[in-house]
């Protein structure tokens, strides 16, 4: 049997080599693995139609549209839905709300009798401004950034919606 010092050195060299391999492959491997944390997708702007017509409405309008959505290496044409709510206080006479309930993610619908957005899943209610009124939701409906271009209202779809 060789002396214990030499044996200890050899054992140490095994762990040094092993650690070297782990670091050499582990660092690029971790970056590879964590790419979704480091890369964020951009937002998409969608055309919702003529802003004057939308602003003239008396109640929120559900605007359905199709948009090109790309994630990673795939892209597809997807249907989308946003609520355009007449709002005299807003810059363009409207604000735009996401239909996704902030409780569990069902799509809310405008209930004309109540004058509120109603969620079919757990009876959550939001007012026309998107603020939660009753039921389980605590957070308001997401508002999209808007701009007007050549008389058309454009709204921004965030990364999660796109």
């Amino acid at each position: 049997m060789t002396d214990p010092t030499r044996r200890g050195l050899l054992e140490a060299s095994i762990f040094v080599s092993g650690a070297g391999i782990a670091v050499a492959l582990g660092l690029p491997g971790a970056a590879f693995l964590c790419t979704p944390l480091l890369r964020r997708g951009g937002s998409t702007w969608v055309d919702l139609g003529e802003v004057t017509a939308l602003a003239a409405s008396e109640m929120p309008i559900a605007v359905r549209f199709r948009f090109e959505s790309s994630s990673g290496y795939t892209s597809s044409s997807k249907p989308g839905l946003l609520y355009v709510v007449p709002d005299a206080a807003a810059e363009h006479g409207v604000h735009v709300l996401s239909p996704i309930c902030t409780h569990k993610g069902c799509n809310v619908a405008w209930a004309p009798a109540e004058g509120l957005f109603a969620c079919p899943c757990h009876q959550g209610r939001f007012d026309a401004g998107g603020a939660p009124v009753s039921g389980p939701p605590n957070a308001p409906l997401a508002r999209s950034a808007v701009r007007v271009d050549a008389g058309h209202l454009w709204a921004e779809l965030g990364e999660a919606q796109a």
């Binding site: 049997m1 060789t2 080599s17 790419t35 290496y73 795939t74």
Partner: protein, 573 residues
């Protein structure tokens, strides 16, 4: 008993170290050292392939429509993607090299003899697994090289006697290598083979542990005073670190190749397998015709059989190489033949690629974009033998199976219908395009489309295949594209209106013109030399009606607007 002073070293060891030492600290015979490191290196290589392979699987998509894009995504977008993929790529080659070294070392030491024969047989199964990994992994990037290499490989399996056709269908998952092949190869590469390999490796190592490391023929079982752990393990891990660093270096210096996306119609590509299959391919070339199965099946099967049965075939109990002249000479001859065939195969393929390039260059004297004056002019009544030419073209159209992609039943994404091509494209352009197809359409990333017009290497004269095909296509006209208003010569004002409308409708949002715009739709550079104005006008008026399913926007243009834009496009020559 007080304190721990009385405890032995062994009792104080922590669990993991104890396990390591208990399992691996067995004595090494004299003369065992660096040359025994190949086995440990193979184990480390396998671990590297498992780790990098698992990482690649996070982004890879094993479907024909996405595979190439997902690999391109790994290469271009994923952090360290090209590095990790490169390590996996070079790791497969180094694996084969190390494996050959391991086999040669085992052979030289006679380590397959006697009680170790089953270790050898399990090792042979592992060898087959490694080749299986190489073969199945080769297809996964779904580029030209992958596709055609695999088509040849599956074809070879298909030439096996009796069971060939069944084997081919089983491997391809259908009649030929295609969409259904990719998931099979992926499952084999990433699930089945790794599981089998892990099991076989465990068995291989267990047998090694049972029988011990083969001692040197000179020293026999005389102890060296050294232990597998830590003495041999230290050598193995140091070399493994070196290997990982070399793989990282190769990967960052060269990267893994990713060629053009697989295109079943491509005729200008010489299939090239992974380098370690070049020898097998060359063997195949040596036996052609009715002797094909000698090279593709009998010789390899015989070789593999003899390889596996070596412990039983070689009855000589001696392990000293000096007393194994016959075995060593035969083994050396086999090794030299394999290396020779591999090198020969490499140069033979190079020569074949050059020959094909020359054939294509010779048969396509027309460069794209050069107006062709030797072809028939636009006037359909110009040449007296036009009808005969068109008839030959119709036969050619059928023989080349153009309808496989362009036919009404086989419309692929991005492949235009040719039903009314005579009303669509100018003859000069068609001729130049058929002689040398250059992409005019791209996918949404601006990259090449999944399907691409192949270069059929058509002849320009004697016989004039290009002229015949163009003449045939010219007969395919449609009255929908005849507009009386287009018979009048264009006015400058009309062209100017068209140019303005082109800008107003933001056509560059989807079309590239003069290097500007997004390549979502076809390239409009020199579109005037390509499209006839009647077609352009009809398409502008009713995109969906002319090209069902088109992404072209219907701008609800008036006839005057559409005509003006068509007139403007006509000037873009």
């Amino acid at each position: 008993v007080t304190g721990t002073g009385g405890a032995t070293q062994r009792e104080r060891e922590a669990g993991l170290l104890k396990l390591l030492r208990g399992l691996l600290a067995y004595p090494l015979p004299k003369g065992v050292g660096w040359s025994q490191a190949f086995g440990g290196l193979l184990l480390a290589s396998f671990a590297v392939q498992v780790v990098t392979g698992a990482l690649l699987a996070l982004y890879y998509s094993p479907s024909a429509s996405d595979a190439w894009e997902s690999v391109a995504y790994i290469e271009r977008e994923v952090r360290a993607g090209s590095l990790i993929r490169g390590v996996h790529h070079f790791g497969s080659s180094s694996f084969v090299i190390l494996l050959v070294c391991h086999v040669v070392r085992t052979f030289l030491w006679g380590a397959y003899k006697g009680k170790r024969r089953w270790t050898w047989v399990v090792g042979c199964a592992l060898f087959a697994c490694v080749l299986g990994f190489g073969f199945t992994g080769y297809l996964l990037p779904w580029d030209l090289k992958a596709y055609f290499g695999t088509r040849v490989g599956v074809g070879i399996a298909g030439s096996a006697p009796v069971v060939g056709s069944y084997l081919e269908r089983l491997m391809a998952g259908g009649a030929s290598v295609g969409e259904l092949t990719l998931p099979r190869f992926y499952a084999a590469h990433a699930v089945i083979l790794p599981l089998v390999t892990v099991g076989l490796v465990a068995l291989h190592l267990l047998l090694l542990r049972v029988h011990g490391v083969t001692p040197h023929w000179k020293h026999g079982y005389a102890g060296s005073g050294r232990l597998f752990y830590p003495h041999q393990t230290a050598k193995d891990t140091a070399l493994a670190l070196l290997l990982v660093l070399v793989l990282l270096g190769l990967s960052s210096a060269f990267g893994a190749p990713l060629g053009e996306r697989a295109d079943p119609q491509n005729t200008s590509y010489v299939p090239r397998p992974e380098w370690y299959f070049l020898g097998a391919q060359q063997l195949l070339r040596l036996f052609q015709g009715s002797f094909e199965s000698v090279g593709s099946f009998f010789l390899p099967a015989l070789g593999a059989g003899a390889f596996v049965l070596l412990p039983w075939l070689d009855r000589n109990r001696e392990r000293d190489p000096a007393r194994r002249r016959v075995a060593l000479s035969l083994g050396g001859a086999v090794l030299v033949s394999i290396i020779g065939l591999t090198v020969w195969g490499h140069f033979a393929l190079d020569a074949e690629e050059r020959a094909l390039a020359e054939r294509i260059a010779a048969s396509a004297p027309i460069t794209p974009g050069t107006p062709v004056t030797t072809g028939a002019p636009d006037d359909p009544e110009a040449a007296p033998d036009e009808a005969a030419l068109a008839e030959r073209g119709a036969r050619l159209y059928r023989d080349l199976a153009c309808d496989a992609c362009h036919g009404a039943d086989a419309r692929l994404d991005g492949v235009p219908s040719l039903a009314f091509e005579g009303s669509v494209a100018r003859r000069e352009w068609l001729r130049a395009y058929l002689a040398h197809p250059t992409p005019i359409r791209y996918d949404w990333t601006g990259g090449p489309l999944l399907v691409r017009m192949p270069d059929f290497a058509l002849k320009g004269d004697e016989p004039d295949e290009l002229g015949a095909l163009v003449a045939h296509l010219a007969t395919r006209t449609d009255a929908r594209f005849a507009f009386a208003a287009l018979e009048q010569p264009a006015t400058d004002a009309e062209i100017e209106t068209g140019r303005r409308l082109f800008d107003d409708y933001d056509c560059r949002d989807c079309h590239v013109l003069g290097g500007e715009g997004d390549p979502l739709g076809p390239d409009l550079d020199r579109v005037g030399a390509r499209l006839l104005p009647g077609y352009a006008m009809a398409l502008l008026l009713d995109p969906e009606g002319v090209v069902p399913g088109t992404a072209m926007t219907d701008f609800a243009l008036t006839e005057d607007e559409a005509r003006a834009i068509a007139r403007y496009l006509e000037t873009l020559k």
